[in-house]
Amino acid sequence: MSKLGNLGARLYRGEVGYDFVGKRKIWYAVSILITITAIVGLAVRGLNMGIEFEGGAVFNTPKTSASVAKAEESAEKASGHDAIVQKLGDDKLRIQIAGVDINKSDQIKKSLATDLDVKAEDIDADLVGPSWGEQIANKAWQGLAIFMILVVIYLAIAFEWRMAIAALIALIHDITITVGVYALVGFEVTPGTVIGLLTILGYSLYDTVVVFDSLKEQSKDITKQTGHTYSELANKSINGTLVRSINTTVVALLPVAGLLFIGGGVLGAGMLNDISLSLFVGLAAGAYSSIFIATPLVADFKEREPQMKALKKRVLAKRAAAAAKGESAEAPERGAAEPDDGEDGPEDAAAAVVGPRTQPASRNRGRGRPSGKRR
């Protein structure tokens, strides 16, 4: 903790920093690799769709002494379909039967109750027609599409279109990763999963927006200075908000983890578990993407602008000139590809960011006081 706090200060001043943007090619490659894995996993293994999407019945029995094998046999006999029986904690059974007609369920329930020696009223049944899950899924996709369009419009207005596109790509990336994990690990996809996935939308963007907000602020007068290229500023934004990002992600993950491990642990399986699992995977992916994908992408897009290209040229030229003069203090060794400014005095960074310094004297005077008071 203590290291982290101190790190926060150093990150803030740019004393330390990881070159996220400069090494973006690595991250892109990692992401592309993950995405390909996810797609392959999806194509090869497919998603393990729950009963809610396939149609069928899920029965949860109360405590019973009956064995899994017996329950399976009983369920198959009663329904004429294959049954999957899982043992939940506490000697409860969860019996899934695919392809059962809704109307047949009462009869199955009754025969299960007799065979397993439990009361029929105590068996919980979840019966789903085959088209219901499809409808939920379709609606969810529809919601996803509408949300993406709206959010791109909003981000384009609040920030700019490049950021909107980058955020969208990061978002799609998060969803792909989450879906990929589901395909590869074989977790069951239920409406709870869909809920979790959809929540990631807002959350992943939340993180991204915090970084973008800082980037927007930093790059306001970018063309009026020659100290930094856009990429460097982007990197500084990431590093500056890194503590925030870590904190917000940790704080978001904690309740979800509680939900996943405690909620799920008590009940074995169920909606709590489904939602929190996809949230957990998605939140982690979201934190990753806002740092490693979204912001570097913005930098990439931006640097294609002629204005930014010109700026980069100016910055590099200035640095080259400075290097030639041997003024290493004024223009530290910070190439575009090497913006790690560990050696740099923090003051330069701040000054460079806002461009022409507005009130340098007063600021320094204020800082000069040991008390920290300005006046």
Binding site: G129, V243, L254, L272
Partner: protein, 583 residues
């Protein structure tokens, strides 16, 4: 982190006390409202309280492409609602969801099987001749009317003159206060034919007929109390269309109840081809319902009306009976066949309702069960418990993290989280009775996830304040400078969250919707709490010595935060020796 232009963004410190008082009042008001309304816990959904939840999906019938529309969906909801709640189910609720789904939630302890049967089946619509009619309360004097009805309306029960006289005006069309929905054709002027008198007189018989079934019916009629809901339902239950029955119906003024003895069904809902609410210009622009019968229906209807039109009131009426309830009992004064017009004191809405009922026989749409979930109270309680435990642990973890990392500042965060939780709880509780919001499992998840979202806002704000302190500012200006920028970040990111929730709420169905609702609500509350509670509290706290002087437990110790050291060209070496114990 860049130094912004000074002065521009600086917002006035404002009056923090005022905001705090405001939110306190809001909190007290909500809590007060909670106790006043008598609801101190949120309504629980089926998955937490136990019960059965049935999801129905409307299906398009061939030839009726646009049948799935909001009007028909609402009619269907009303009908299903009457039916389910008619079973004596307490608080069963029927709601539309999305554009073509209806959710029926039946709490535990009701006859779920029967409810399921009722929900799915199409309602029964019959046209039965009226034999006797009386106000809905139990008749104090023995009513002497009786009818076997075995041979249709040939047997006339004697009408109870006392009740009837007031009830039935001679001219059916002109008496909106009575049973005045009259079926008329062009022949409205034709008064009740006296011909019916002989039939009536001929059978006038104060003693009930010997037929035991008739006697039973008579007794039932006498006892029937239409003001009692259960009695109303019981009256219509298990009656075969071919048998006479007793039934209740709202009187035309819509306030009181009338009861009827009805003959066997003559025409049923399937015989109606379509019905439409229209304005009859001839009758002074009044709302009427036009019915068209199918070929077979027209024949039957002609036969009935020719008979009925010969009768005296009330026996010249036919009752339109839906699921055992008399929807309307227009009188007939001429023989009708293919087309019929029902007139009376209709409003546009009531005419449309009746037309809907008539044209669809019952449910305006065909429904298919999409999912049925039965949860025993035991499992529901367990799920709720697990959710609450998970929530509590999540909250505890967040608090621990905040305390360790932010120290004194975490007090503000925790207080804000508590206010946020209290507001959420109160609003959810109040939304139960007002918009029928029910806390279900996804909603619980939404609330737990919201802990993170709410805490995020504080982190954004606190980090900004700390950044300002690192710039070398003292706390009070640091807070005021940090706020506008943190505010923007919070608003932008909360807006994105809210957008996601709103889109999901509007577009999706089922469990996803409950989740989206909670998420949207808590996102809004987050903004409210941060603006009206966290920020003002922070402003107040910044005046306290503990925080302002950067006590080492305040979380704002400039030294620990690595505030800028005095010298301009300081290197990291001089900035970094900061005590590494900063949390």
């Amino acid at each position: 982190m860049a130094a912004p232009k000074k002065g521009r963004r600086q917002s006035a410190p404002g009056k923090p006390g005022r905001s705090l008082v405001f939110i306190l009042i809001a909190l007290v008001a909500l809590t007060g409202g909670m106790f006043l309304s008598g609801h101190t816990t949120p309504r629980l959904g089926i998955d937490l309280a136990g019960g059965t939840s049935i999801t129905l999906e409307a299906k398009n019938e061939p030839g009726q492409k646009n049948a799935i529309n909001p009007t028909n969906m609402n009619t269907a909801v009303d009908i299903i609602n009457n039916r389910v709640n008619g079973l004596g189910v307490s608080e069963a609720e029927v709601q539309t969801q999305g554009d073509k789904n209806i959710i029926v939630n039946i709490p535990k302890g009701t006859n779920e099987k029967q409810a399921r049967e009722q929900v799915g089946t199409t309602a029964q619509l019959f046209f039965r001749p009226v034999i006797t009619q009386a106000p809905g309360a139990p008749t104090p004097q023995p009513s002497d009317s009786a009818s076997t009805g075995a041979d249709k309306d040939k047997d006339k029960g004697k009408k109870d003159e006392k009740d009837k006289a007031t009830d039935k005006a001679t001219s059916p069309t002109s008496t909106p206060t009575s049973q005045g929905r009259a079926v008329s054709d062009a022949l409205k002027a034709d008064p009740t034919p006296p011909a019916s008198d002989k039939a009536k007189d001929g059978k006038k018989d104060p003693t009930p007929s010997a037929d035991p079934a008739t006697a039973k019916l008579q007794e039932k009629f006498t006892k029937l109390d239409c003001t009692d809901k259960r009695a109303r339902v019981a009256a219509g239950q298990g009656v075969k269309p071919s048998e006479p029955t007793v039934a209740c119906g709202k009187s035309p003024d819509g306030k009181s109840w009338d009861k009827f003895v009805l003959g066997p069904a003559e025409v049923n809902g399937k015989d109606v081809d379509k019905a439409q609410a229209t304005i009859n210009q001839n009758a002074g622009g009044a709302w009427v319902v036009n019915m068209t019968f199918t070929k077979g229906g027209a024949k039957k209807f002609a036969k009935v009306t020719s008979k009925l039109s010969q009768q005296q009131p009330p026996q010249n009426q036919f009752a339109i009976v839906l699921d055992g309830d008399v929807v309307s009992a227009p009188s007939v004064n001429s023989t009708l066949s293919t087309n019929a017009e029902i007139s009376g004191s209709f409003t546009q809405d009531s005419a449309k309702d009746l037309a809907n009922v008539l044209s669809y026989g019952a449910l305006p749409l065909t429904f298919h069960e999409q999912s049925v979930t039965t949860v025993s109270p035991a499992l529901g309680g367990e799920q709720l418990k697990a959710g609450l435990i998970a929530g509590a642990i999540g909250l505890a973890l967040v608090i621990i993290y905040l305390v360790v990392y932010y120290r004194g500042l975490s007090l503000i965060a925790i207080a804000s989280l508590l206010v946020s939780a209290a507001l959420t709880y109160a609003i959810m509780t109040l939304l139960g009775p007002t918009i029928k919001f029910a806390l279900n499992l996804p909603a619980v998840c939404g609330a737990i996830v919201a802990i993170g979202i709410t805490a995020d806002s504080f982190i954004v704000f606190f980090e900004r304040v700390r950044d300002e302190v690192r710039e070398g500012r003292t706390l009070r200006p640091a807070v005021e400078r940090a706020w506008p920028r943190a505010r923007r970040t919070i608003l932008v990111s909360d807006f994105v969250s809210f957008l996601a929730a709103a889109v999901l709420f509007v577009v999706t169905v089922g469990k996803v919707q409950g989740f989206a609702f909670t998420l949207g609500l808590t996102t809004l509350l987050d903004v409210v709490v941060v603006f009206f509670f966290t920020k003002p509290l922070m402003t107040l706290m910044a005046r306290k010595k503990f925080f302002a002087n950067g006590h080492k437990w305040s979380g704002l110790d400039p030294k620990r935060l690595g505030a800028k050291p005095p010298l301009r060209r300081s290197r990291s070496a001089s900035a970094a020796p900061v005590d590494p114990k900063e949390a």
